[in-house]
């Protein structure tokens, strides 16, 4: 599959940035991960078999870059304060607040499941976790959100 780098940056930038933001909870780190993912892509120019492979590659590299960022000792000492997503809708404000209370890995799984609409199997492959672990994390994240949001949502 031939790749056009400009088209790829345009098409995948929001997906990469949103996952980076979901994982880190702040723009400063999300910016860093976002740049690193695309710099890796431009340096490596991997050959993708198909669009699904390409999407999975970008999600996986984003998750890996987020892990690497976390492992940097400098980052651990200078962790920025989490931000709440700006929104005028009160449900969104509550949800944003609730998401910040979850651990980064839960937010990552929630994002891949609800926003990217991946199956637990696909999430497991991208994050190198067992399917059972992903399922457990999803169940617990939902339970925590329900608890924090006091049953605000009818359907998860």
């Amino acid at each position: 599959m031939k790749d056009n780098p400009e088209e790829t940056v345009r098409n995948y930038s929001e997906m990469v940035y949103r996952l980076a933001y979901a994982r880190t909870g702040n723009r400063q780190d999300a910016d860093e991960i976002y740049q690193e993912v695309f710099l890796r892509y431009l340096r490596k120019m991997p050959a993708f078999q198909n669009p699904s492979h390409k999407k999975a590659w970008f999600l996986k590299v984003t998750a890996n870059c987020a892990n690497s960022l976390w492992r940097s000792p400098w980052k651990r000492y200078t962790e920025p304060l989490p931000e709440e997503l700006a929104s005028e809708v009160s449900e969104n404000i509550d949800l944003s607040h609730a998401l910040q209370k979850l651990s980064p890995c839960y937010r990552e799984v929630i994002h891949l499941f609800y926003y990217e609409e991946l199956s637990t199997k696909e999430i497991g492959q991208i994050l190198c976790r067992k399917i059972s672990t992903v399922r457990t994390q999803l169940t617990r994240a939902r339970a925590m959100l329900k608890e924090i949001l006091k049953e605000e949502f009818d359907e998860f």
Partner: protein, 348 residues
């Protein structure tokens, strides 16, 4: 309301900064041009011809080129064509920092800095400015500083600083002629990088249900569903010093199986001073890597000698462990040199 819809609505508003995306698109455009118009044979031939013309066909010119520029040419033939000598230096602690050249092309400035030790061997191929440099400039810009290369003969390390102006509102504005101040307050050198190091961990070295203690973590990686804000989390009690890690500066301080998971705890001393870091992973015969979560905590009993602990937790049964081998990646710095190096120069 449906959770999925609300979540989507929330994240539909999240987008990367336009300036960042523009920078990436600029890089992608360069990459694209290379792919579309220049097969590798053409690039190789062009570089070869340019090198030949530069160094052989014009010997008189080559003879007058300073070694520093010849070295910069080996780093980047393309950039070397636009080099503008600066030759401004700053010396402190027996270390000389020199702004070798600066060039401006449209909205981007490229500055080569060299550093050398006038008295010893504190500069080497691993010398790293990490977060210890600053660039003062009178215009908004995205800046990067990367190690460009090491000249072993001259014992000089080169850094390339790139400034890309952000001004979107004033298209006529040029950064040419602007003054820049580059300063450094410390650097690391003598760094050892241990990549993908296999570690001899035998199952009989791993005790079951080892002693634990509560700590207030300074950082977490992975999922921690059972962690309450004010209760801290359980970690193994550091109680050993098993000599199986190949890197001096990182010590294995505890091992054990708890709740069906393998815990491996390591410690690093004074990480704020030396930037030492590393991580572990398990890998099976197919190359599949496993890592699960990590807990970072501090022991600051001795404030002059703080110790950082990292406990890596692997979701793997003891029966499965024989299918995996433990690997590590470690970066250990030899020394840190402090001083005050500062040069102000114009972009011309």
């Amino acid at each position: 309301m449906n959770f999925r819809d609300t979540y989507r609505q929330l994240y539909d508003h999240i987008s990367p900064d336009e300036a960042l995306t523009k920078q990436l698109l600029d890089r992608a455009a360069i990459q694209n041009r290379k792919i579309l118009s220049m097969p590798w044979q053409v690039i190789t031939a062009a570089v070869f011809l340019f090198c030949t013309a530069f160094f052989i066909s014009i010997p008189a010119l080559a003879a007058h080129i300073e070694p520093v520029y010849q070295f910069l040419y080996t780093l980047s033939p393309e950039a070397a064509q636009y080099l503008m000598p600066v030759h401004l230096t700053s010396e402190d602690q027996g270390i000389r920092m020199e702004v070798v050249s600066a060039s401006v092309e449209k909205d981007t400035a490229r500055i080569y800095i060299s550093m050398e030790d006038l008295n010893g061997d504190r500069i080497d191929q691993t010398t790293d400015l990490y977060d210890s440099y600053s660039v003062h400039r009178p215009f908004p810009a995205a800046e990067t500083c990367e190690r460009a290369g090491y000249d072993a003969d001259a014992k000089k390390v080169y850094f390339l600083i790139t400034l890309k102006e952000w001004s979107e509102t004033d298209a006529e504005h040029s950064i040419q002629g602007e003054k820049i101040t580059f300063s450094v307050k410390e650097f690391l050198s003598g760094k050892s990088i241990y990549e993908d190091i296999p570690i001899a961990l035998e199952p009989d070295m791993i005790p079951e249900n080892p002693a634990v203690k509560k700590v207030d973590p300074s950082g977490l990686g992975g999922s921690f569903e059972d962690l309450e804000d004010d209760q801290g989390t359980d970690v193994l009690v550091p109680n050993t010093s098993i000599d199986i890690l190949p890197a001096n500066g990182i010590t294995l301080t505890a091992l054990g199986y708890r709740d069906g998971m393998l815990h491996i705890q390591t410690s690093l001393e004074n990480t704020l001073e030396n930037d030492n870091h590393g991580y572990l992973w398990l890998e099976n015969a197919d190359g599949k890597k496993t890592s699960f979560r990590s807990i970072h905590f501090q022991d600051e009993t001795d404030s002059s000698h703080p110790v950082t602990f990292v406990e890596e937790i692997f979701d793997i049964n003891i029966e499965e462990l024989s299918d995996y081998t433990l690997h590590g990646y470690f970066v250990i710095s030899g020394q840190k040199t402090e001083g005050n190096w500062k040069v102000t120069f114009p972009l011309e």
